[in-house]
Amino acid sequence: MTTIRIPTPLRPYTSGQAEIAVSGENVGAVLADLTTRHPNLKQHLYNEAGELRAFVNIFLNEEDIRHVRGVETPVQEKDRLMIVPSIAGG
């Protein structure tokens, strides 16, 4: 299992859990497992087209997955994932 850290505003959708053990061979599979376990998270992570929302950043061991292979980035059991929002507005 891999650990994923949930930011404060999304913890109401994980029963208050800050860290969750999830499984999957890559980031996309891990996120799919996460949203299967906590379905109410889905609308805040993905847009209507099923893509990660622009403000959702996934860090794998403190590296942005966009700089690796995106959701195809492989995940090992000892890895640590973090969901970190970027904040924007107008």
């Binding site: 505003p9 805040h44 904040i87 924007a88």
Partner: protein
């Protein structure tokens, strides 16, 4: 209900005035319990949106968020919300604000008119993301 120490409220308004005519933004640090948040301090940040559009856009990068979360945790606090300014516009969220917003956070918007802070109002996104609701600010 969002409680803000008067000094923190004045500080976030001053940050907006300093950024005028561009938007200024930062984070609210404090504590949350039973739906009530108390802002104990603010963390002013540089607007990371491209310079030519800062007059109507702001951005706080995930790297800044990581640093802020670390700083808040070191002080026994949480990031409980975001503040930003609306130069020469009302203190109400725009459609763009909604597209980027997360539930739970408090979004404090300060309206500036000709460079001076006029009013600050706080908003929270509905869980279905359909709209913001205003929350009362207590100083």
């Amino acid at each position: 209900m969002l409680s803000i120490h008067p000094q923190a409220l004045r500080a976030l308004q001053s940050h907006g005035e300093a950024a005028y005519p561009n938007e200024g933004a930062g984070l609210l640090l404090g504590r949350a319990a039973d739906g009530h948040k108390t802002v104990e301090d603010i963390l002013p940040l540089d607007n990371q949106w491209g310079a030519e559009e800062q007059y109507h856009r702001y951005l706080i990068t995930p790297q800044d968020m990581l640093r802020a979360e670390t700083e808040a945790a070191r002080r026994g606090l949480d990031v409980v919300g975001i503040f930003h300014s609306h130069p020469d516009h009302p203190a109400e969220p725009s459609g763009f604000d909604r597209d980027w917003a997360l539930p739970w956070y408090s979004y404090v918007i300060t309206s500036l008119q000709q460079g001076r802070a006029i009013v600050s109002r706080s908003w929270r996104l509905r869980e279905d993301r359909s709209q913001f609701d205003e929350e009362e600010i207590e100083t």
